[in-house]
């Protein structure tokens, strides 16, 4: 599905953001990429659809080398990769429906785009998605009057309108409150699983990554230092990724879950109640 081979990126400033990164995603799983700021998470995601031009290495998506493609082919590749952003990046003055339909820009001709004449099937798919992400009735609301969580739902829907074969998700929850963050993460993971679409998710929050991802890749200084499941994350792994720190409170949840599932359940329950109280 996705194969990244010895991918490197050195910016014009001389910063080496990625240093021979290689990994394979061969099943529809949600892969969280964790790492400190500046580790190259954003660069990695943006290299895959070449919003950032890689310096060397290969990116193979469904047996085609993306790095070798010309502009025209690249646009075709991009329309098969849905992207979700931290700052949502909706076109603020357009309505929710128009923002969703922008996911079809790679498929629809110029004049149809100009006259906003999208195929009926696309509009129907958009309504279905709005319903699925809990925004039915919002189609004519302008994007700039939505809340953060609502905007991200539109952002997710826009990406899914592309019927992508791969989801690239860049810090989807970093601008959201804890409760909305969990809802948005849950939505992304559910949709990825429902549609059998693999997803690469950059994420700051180790806890969120552990609770939602099928697999976690740890990036430090542009290199992969960890590749495994949530359970395999130990204090040593976190130190490898982020550097020396007291990780006991961060990985407590994992130890609890491995020691006693009940304890974790209770902790989760308590947390949930606290959050709901806080939300009110």
């Amino acid at each position: 599905m996705l194969e990244v081979i010895a991918l490197s990126k050195t910016y014009a400033t001389g910063t080496m953001a990625l240093d021979r990164v290689s990994f394979v995603v061969d099943q529809p799983q949600v892969v969280a990429i964790i790492g400190p700021s500046g580790a190259g998470k954003s660069t990695l995601i943006r290299c895959i659809n070449r919003l950032v031009e890689p310096t060397s290495g290969k990116i193979i998506v469904d047996n085609t080398d993306v790095t070798a493609q010309g502009q025209r082919q690249l646009r075709k590749t991009r329309r098969q990769m849905g992207m979700i952003f931290q700052e949502y990046n909706l076109v603020e003055r357009l309505t929710v429906m128009e923002n969703l339909l922008s996911g079809r820009l790679g498929y629809v001709g110029f004049w149809k785009t100009y006259r906003r004449k999208f195929p009926k099937a696309d509009v129907a798919a958009a309504f279905e998605l709005l319903d699925r992400v809990g925004l039915s009735g919002y189609q004519d609301t302008r994007a700039d009057s939505l809340s953060g969580g609502e905007r991200q739902r539109v952002g997710i829907s826009r990406a899914l309108m592309q019927q992508p074969r791969l989801l690239l998700v860049d810090e989807p929850t970093a601008s959201l409150d804890p409760k909305t963050s969990r809802q948005i993460m849950r939505l992304i993971v559910e949709l990825a699983h429902e549609r059998g679409t693999p997803a690469l998710v950059n994420i700051h929050d180790v806890g969120l990554a552990q609770s939602f991802a099928d697999r976690i890749i740890g990036l430090a200084d542009g290199k992969i230092v960890f590749d495994g499941t949530a359970k395999e994350i130990t204090a040593q792994v976190l130190t490898d990724i982020y550097g020396e720190e007291d990780w006991s409170t961060t990985i407590q949840k994992i130890q609890q879950s491995s020691d006693s599932a009940k304890g974790r359940q209770a902790w989760k329950q308590k947390n949930k109640i606290e959050r709901e109280v806080a939300a009110e």
Binding site: L51, T77, E87, V91, R93, L94, E98, G103, F110, G155
Partner: protein, 271 residues
């Protein structure tokens, strides 16, 4: 503990404002030099107060001859005003259209560098000379009349609107452009689906503002012969028809007021 405090100079005593020029001698002598130069320039202007005093009764005479304003040649007046408004409208409209491609090409965030540099050079070049100079030039080429005026105002409107449009596009959050590119949209789809909706209200606002400015400018460039009410005004001055001049001046005030009012009203509705 006391000895340690004595050894270290207390930073609170040491702190002072960071200045652009740290050396006080250089700082103060520079300020003195600037003041001296201003004083010297004023001396060298050589104001002849005698001539100023002689002018005062002449001013009183002109004002007396201006009153009351003479609206008897209202047909000429209206024709001049209409010509000015039409010049302004035509120039604003053409400028608005020409400004779109130029403004887009002058936005560094969406076009390649060479295109950007060329468009910027064009904008800077067309902004170099004041409208009066451009108008004199066109009057020499195309003769007296509104054609020269429209051409002059078109050039200034195009460069103004395209500069504003380019600035607006460059100030767009890069994320939106990135997101639309990530859907596989090419340059033109990006323009109509992302740049255009985001830049449209300000573009229209700037264009309307330019229409208002063009009405004002059209009254000025007429003085060098580029048509409109300014040309009528210049003629009335040279014929010492001061009462008619005042009528024209009053009408220009009303026109500019109306233009400003209209422009503000339209812009307040654009959101």
């Amino acid at each position: 503990m006391n000895t340690a405090a004595e050894k270290h100079i207390d930073p609170a005593q040491q702190w002072h404002q960071i200045r652009m020029i740290e050396n006080p001698l250089i700082r103060h002598s520079l300020a003195l030099l600037v003041l001296l130069y201003i004083f010297w320039s004023m001396l060298s202007i050589n104001v002849d107060w005698g001539r100023f005093l002689l002018g005062l009764p002449r001013a009183a005479n002109i004002v007396a001859r201006m009153l009351p304003p003479d609206f008897s040649r209202w047909e000429l007046l209206i024709r001049g005003m209409l010509e000015s408004v039409q010049m302004a409208l035509a120039a604003s409209f053409i400028g608005m259209i020409l400004a779109v491609p130029i403004g887009i090409c002058a936005s560094s965030n969406i076009v390649p560098k060479p295109v950007y540099l060329m468009a910027r050079a064009f904008i800077i070049l067309s902004r170099t000379f004041h409208e009066i100079i451009v108008a004199i030039f066109f009057v020499k080429i195309f003769g007296f009349g509104p054609i020269s005026g429209v051409l002059t105002l078109t050039i200034s409107s195009t460069s103004f609107i395209s500069k504003m449009l380019a600035e607006d596009i460059e100030n767009m959050p890069p994320g939106q452009i990135e997101a639309i590119r990530a859907t596989g949209a090419g340059f033109f789809k990006l323009l109509i689906y992302c740049i255009s909706p985001q830049a449209m209200p300000r573009y229209l606002g700037v264009s309307i503002y330019r229409l208002d400015a063009n009405i004002r400018h059209s009254t000025v460039i007429g003085i060098v012969g580029a048509g409109g009410i300014g040309q009528v005004l210049a003629a009335s001055f040279s014929r010492y028809d001061y009462d008619f001049s005042l009528a024209i001046l009053l009408s220009i005030i009303v026109l500019v007021f109306l233009g400003e009012f209209f422009s503000n009203w339209v812009r307040s509705r654009l959101r």
